[in-house]
Amino acid sequence: MGILRRNLTAYGFLCAALFCFAVFAWYPMVREFILSFQKTDLINPPEWVGLENFKGAVQDPAFGEAWLNTVEFTLLALLCGYAVPFVVALVLNELRHARAYLRFVVYLPVMLPPIVAVLLFRWFYDPGPGLFNQILDLVNLPPLAWLDSSSTALISLVIVSTWMNMGSATLIYLAALQNIPSELYEAAELDGAGVFKRIRHVTIPQTRLILLLMLMLQIVATMQVFIEPYMLTGGGPENATVSVAYLMYQFAFSQMNYGQAGALGMMLMIVLLAFAAFQLRTTREDAA
């Protein structure tokens, strides 16, 4: 096969994918940039407005709150969603029985559509007959307002989010733990290292790369939190659960201000990309 012919066949095979990527992945990135400098409601022709959209987004009363909430949500989700699966995986790896069952149940919520988890927990959070307040009542604790109070609403969202997402992280850690050669533990033990020292000096260094990678993936994933505030709180009470992604949705579909939504999207993209680049660099230095 000549070079030309080989290339032609290859691009023949590639053209469908190139079309999909060009129109639905690469172009939207460019479009986001264009959109953020335009005023458009998708009906009238767009007009260029310079930095108006960025100004509008920043001046929105919920702007600061949305970023604070998103960061707070991410930190809380890391506390629950990052540390808990690792500890759970550590414990599961030590157990010799019921492993298949435990792995199955921890991954079960991941399989369910998010809407199921969200609507189910909305019922649990019901201040009256909801399951959680009934359990609190059972152990003689005062009821909580959960989603209805600005002090507990955000943590309530984190709980749902952790419940429905932690299965995949747990199983990934579990696989990483099983790849640690047992000789290392034996050597550490001969050197007199106790259980916690073994975790610190063998387990964590051996799983370091996957831990760093998951940290990055998880932060990027939780920074985009949308369905939880959209379904559970609508951003309330008093903007306590407005996330950046949710605010973006509101700009676009409540205020029909797609340009302003695009501007906010640009800001989120820059933050996330900067973060990912930073993380990637530390990971690479680490690996080297």
């Binding site: 290859a10 959109l35 199921v116 696989a175």
Partner: protein, 328 residues
């Protein structure tokens, strides 16, 4: 993939290894009042705790205590909510609102399921969702497999640039380009058209990455032999590459279908007409207008397809989960 499969295998061995021990407590009980000579907890692959520590007097007690605690906690955390969902759907609205709640439905009834089916129009929603998921899967496989094959085996000019640009999309969080993607879909007139979901789904850099990496590992001799027999590129793909790639095709297929079934935000924006919605979006729109037990009935019906998929493909799903991450 390879390392994922290895982890899986090791695990199976491990489970088989303790299979014999699982009966130990029963044996012990059967041996009656005789002073027990405890069977050791069998350890095939040592982990943090050494077999010696595990089988010491206190080690064993602590182990059983930990095991029971973990099983109870996991069951409460992950099974109880689902139990509550199913039984909630079998209670009357009055019983659902009762305080304190009943652990078992007083008069179990299946009516809420039928009511939910009618109120949410679940038949239509389910057909829509399955249609979008399967159609998207078919299109996605055709597009991604051919692209990965071209990039891996035909190696065109600028192939690496294209691959890099495709992988770069993985760095862009989906929520961030949601609005411009929506605007693009509107511009193309794909609103309320399944292609508005299928095209974006096919632009999946991760699938291409997984497929290409697997195709790279297919020995060149295999393909050259077919070429000598006069097979063209299409024939090679169909009769040589695809048959040996069954494992990775399975993993990619399951993940594509499950993701499409679970997807919420894009269908929320693209499929806005009530007779074209997916089941997740449909439930979210109507949930406020019906009673709690009917909502639960709807949720149970929505969950069933995914739970069935999980039961059948559990091994593939768990292998696929680690496929990309360990070596990726």
């Amino acid at each position: 993939m390879i390392s994922g499969a290895r982890g899986q295998l090791k695990d199976e061995r491990r489970e088989r290894g303790d299979g014999g021990v699982r009966r130990a407590p029963a044996d012990r009980r059967r041996s009656g009042g005789r002073r027990r000579s405890p069977r050791p907890i069998h350890v095939q692959f040592r982990t943090i705790i050494s077999p010696h520590q595990l089988n010491s007097r206190w080690g064993r007690r602590l182990y059983w205590l930990a095991l029971v605690t973990v099983i109870v906690v996991f069951t409460l955390a992950f099974v109880l909510p689902l139990y509550w969902m199913i039984t909630g759907a079998m209670k009357t609205p009055e019983e659902v609102a009762e305080m304190p709640p009943t652990l078992f439905p007083a008069q179990p009834t299946l009516d809420p399921f039928f009511e939910a089916w009618d109120l949410f129009d679940i038949g239509t929603l389910l057909v829509n969702t399955v249609y979008y998921a399967l159609g998207g899967w078919l299109f996605c496989m055709v597009v991604d497999v051919t692209a990965a094959y071209a990039l891996s085996k035909l190696r065109p000019m600028f192939g690496n640039v294209i691959l890099g640009a495709m992988l770069a999309t993985l760095m862009i969080p989906p929520m961030v380009i949601l609005i411009p993607l929506y605007v693009t879909i509107v511009d193309l007139g794909l609103l309320n058209n399944p292609w508005g979901l299928w095209f974006p789904a096919a632009a999946n850099g991760f699938n291409i990455f997984l497929l290409k990496r697997f195709f790279d590992s297919i020995p060149r001799e295999l393909i050259e032999a077919a070429q000598i027999d006069g097979a063209g590129p299409v024939r090679v793909l169909w009769s040589v590459v695809l048959p040996v790639s069954r494992p990775i095709l399975g993993v990619v297929s399951i993940f594509t279908i499950v993701t499409a079934f679970k997807d919420f935000v894009l269908p929320l924006l693209v499929m806005t007409e009530s007779d074209k919605m997916t089941i997740s979006v449909g439930l979210s729109q109507t949930a406020g207008a019906v009673t709690q037990n009917q909502v639960m009935g709807g949720l149970v019906i929505t969950s069933i397809p995914m739970i069935i998929v999980f039961f059948i493909f559990q091994r593939h799903i768990m292998a696929g989960l680690t496929a990309g991450s360990i070596k990726g």
